[in-house]
């Protein structure tokens, strides 16, 4: 950050704007209402003052420079951060109006409603079929598993490529196919929301395009939140975009939400100077 002395004052004003814009958009159809006041890993303050509404059947993108906490925020939405020792946060995450961090809530149950696709394609070391059927088996699904598997593979645009080798290892596929397999695995159990943590960063441009097309198709059925540091990607697929930035003013590296709004507005007419600079590529 170039102007560290004024940063705190500036960021205060920025938060106000960000929160106001968040409130304006958070009218109807918000599936996940995420409001993080302060998020710590042990004593390290990682994120502050970030509130992002994830709307139904929309793609919500989190953009920002490395280390600004976009993945951290995303992982809060299905309690993946529970695995990190020393994680705690002030604020709330509401999924369809219910606080998922309430003591009575089972984190594993939350993750069955809010699925996740990771940065590195991570199929299990088992057959393609069993990879997709994994979630169904977790829930001891009694219905027709084979149909569900086929359906999920079709919806993730992988069926034609793998229909003749369903018993082959999921690890034998190419990177892009593996990632689509992971998407198939995630949607086979019909989650409400799909969180995607830089799903294309390990893929080549053609595979990236396919995943992007897939996301746009999938949003008719699911709600998607995606972290990306590819601005064009956010521009291409996202309906809403939140821009996070790093505040280094008090010696730490604390991420916070600078601006949230419709993607068109964020990319063409950003309100904040930082957003403008970032989108113009003046820093990264």
């Amino acid at each position: 950050m170039r102007n560290t002395t004024n940063a705190e004052k500036l960021s205060k004003a920025r938060i106000d704007t960000a929160q106001r814009s968040a409130k304006e958009t958070a009218s109807n159809g918000v599936v996940i209402d995420c409001n993080i006041d302060e998020l710590y890993y042990s004593t390290f303050k990682a994120v502050r003052d970030t509130s992002i509404p994830v709307k139904k059947n929309r793609i919500t993108a989190f953009i920002g420079p490395s280390g600004c906490g976009k993945s951290t925020v995303l992982r809060c939405l299905n309690r993946m951060n529970d695995l990190v020792r020393g994680f705690r946060f002030k604020g709330h995450v509401h999924f369809r109006g219910k606080d998922i961090y309430h003591p009575s809530v089972d984190a594993t149950a939350v993750r069955r409603f809010i699925g996740m696709v990771f940065q590195q394609p991570n199929p299990f070391a088992m057959s393609i079929y069993n990879n997709v059927a994994f979630g169904l088996r977790l829930n001891s699904y009694k219905g027709p598993v084979a149909e569900k598997v086929e359906d999920a593979l079709k919806r993730s645009a992988l069926w034609d490529e793998v229909k003749d080798k369903l018993q082959k290892s999921g690890l034998s596929l190419s990177g892009g196919q593996q990632q689509r397999l992971c998407i198939a695995r995630a949607i086979a159990t019909e989650p409400e929301v799909l969180l995607m943590d830089e799903p294309c960063s390990a893929l080549d441009p053609i595979a990236t395009r396919r995943i992007e097309e897939l996301m746009v198709e999938l949003k008719t059925r699911y709600t998607i939140a995606i972290v990306t540091h590819n601005l064009q990607q956010a521009q291409r697929v996202a309906d809403n975009t939140g821009f996070l930035y790093v505040d280094t003013s008090d010696g730490g590296r604390c991420g916070y939400l600078v601006e949230f709004g419709e993607s068109g507005q964020i990319f063409n007419d950003p309100r904040e100077q930082y957003t403008k600079d970032y989108i113009r590529g003046e820093f990264s």
Binding site: L83, R112, A125, T189
Partner: protein
């Protein structure tokens, strides 16, 4: 190399022929002697010597191994016949005979030991690798297991002797199995823990991200993925247990009869290949000494077969 570089560096691509000046050799200033391989250069010499030393040492290390195997095949192979698998050990001065009861005894006691140590070992490994990897208790268990891998096997025998033989009055296959399981347990725990830890973290994340509980993650993802490594550990442990003599001397002792003499009973002294070799090798009778050689060969083959089966099994798992 793009054209710009070539233009800058005339050594890589000579410029267009100059119609005026004489033809210039672009490599004139390179001393090709420097590129030739020469033993006068210390670097080359040292490399040659060390490379050959590595090969020589490998050969040297293989000599004892191959001599043992050749000796076993030569001395043991002569008497190898169906009889040794079906008949009982001969009395002194008696000709012929076999050690069918010892093979059966070894198989049963190793199986008993595996039955005890495999579930115990794998479940402990899950605890160490997955449930509480950094707790002081886990640290203590890990430390204990590491010490136990170097545990003198005779002490495992004495332990089982004190706990089982003295308490329940008598040498038995069960006591032998328990003594062997003490030797197998640390190997299984440590290799299985390693194998579970080697499962990529992203696979664990994937399972948890799907909403799997820790138990489901362990049984549906971690253990299947780690299975080849766990099997290797089990095979190592079995190979070690099958060849142990000392613990069995204190626990199963030996028997000249079939285990199922008068009904199948694990609570009686039991023969084993290792103790048979130990007993017969020191006898002044040729027949017994020959049988000891055959028994040694059979023991090695048993371990070999177990290992091959294990390898085939784990390879199938990987390719599935």
């Amino acid at each position: 190399m793009n054209t710009q570089d070539a233009a800058i560096n005339p050594r890589i691509t000579p410029g267009p022929p100059d119609p005026v000046g004489p033809e210039v050799n672009p490599f004139a200033d390179v001393d090709f002697c420097e590129l030739e391989r020469s033993l006068r250069r210390p670097r080359t010499l040292v490399d040659l010597l060390l490379s050959n030393l590595v090969s020589a040492m490998t050969m040297l290390a293989l000599i004892p191994l191959f001599s043992v195997v050749l000796m076993l095949l030569w001395r043991g192979g002569q008497r190898l016949s169906l009889d040794v698998f079906t008949q009982l050990p001969p009395a002194p001065m008696e000709q012929g005979g076999g050690f069918g009861n010892a093979i059966l005894g070894t198989l049963i006691m190793v199986a008993l030991a595996a039955l005890i140590s495999i579930p115990l070992g794998i479940l402990s490994a899950v605890y160490l690798a997955q449930s509480r990897p950094e707790s002081p208790f886990a640290g203590a268990v890990r430390f204990g297991a590491k010490i136990l891998t170097g545990f003198p096997s005779i002490l495992a025998g004495v332990f089982a002797y004190g706990v089982l033989v003295l308490t329940f009055g008598g040498y038995s296959a069960i006591a032998g199995g328990v003594a062997l399981s003490i030797l197998m347990l640390p190997t299984i725990i440590l290799t299985a823990e390693d194998a579970i830890r080697m499962v990529p973290a992203k696979m664990r994340d994937a399972a948890i991200g799907m909403g799997a509980t820790p138990t489901q993650t362990t049984w549906m993802v971690l253990l299947p993925t780690a299975m080849p490594g766990i099997l290797t550990g089990i095979m190592l442990a079995i190979a070690r247990a099958a060849g142990e003599t000392a613990p069995l001397l204190f626990t199963a002792l030996f028997s000249n009869y079939w285990l199922f003499r008068g009904g199948f009973d694990l609570k009686q002294p039991t023969a084993s290949l290792a103790v048979l070799i130990y007993n017969f090798a020191g006898m002044p009778f040729d027949n017994q000494v020959d049988l000891a050689w055959v028994a040694a060969l059979v023991l090695v083959l048993l371990v070999l077969v177990t290992n091959l089966i294990g390898q085939a099994f784990s390879r199938r798992q990987i390719h599935e």
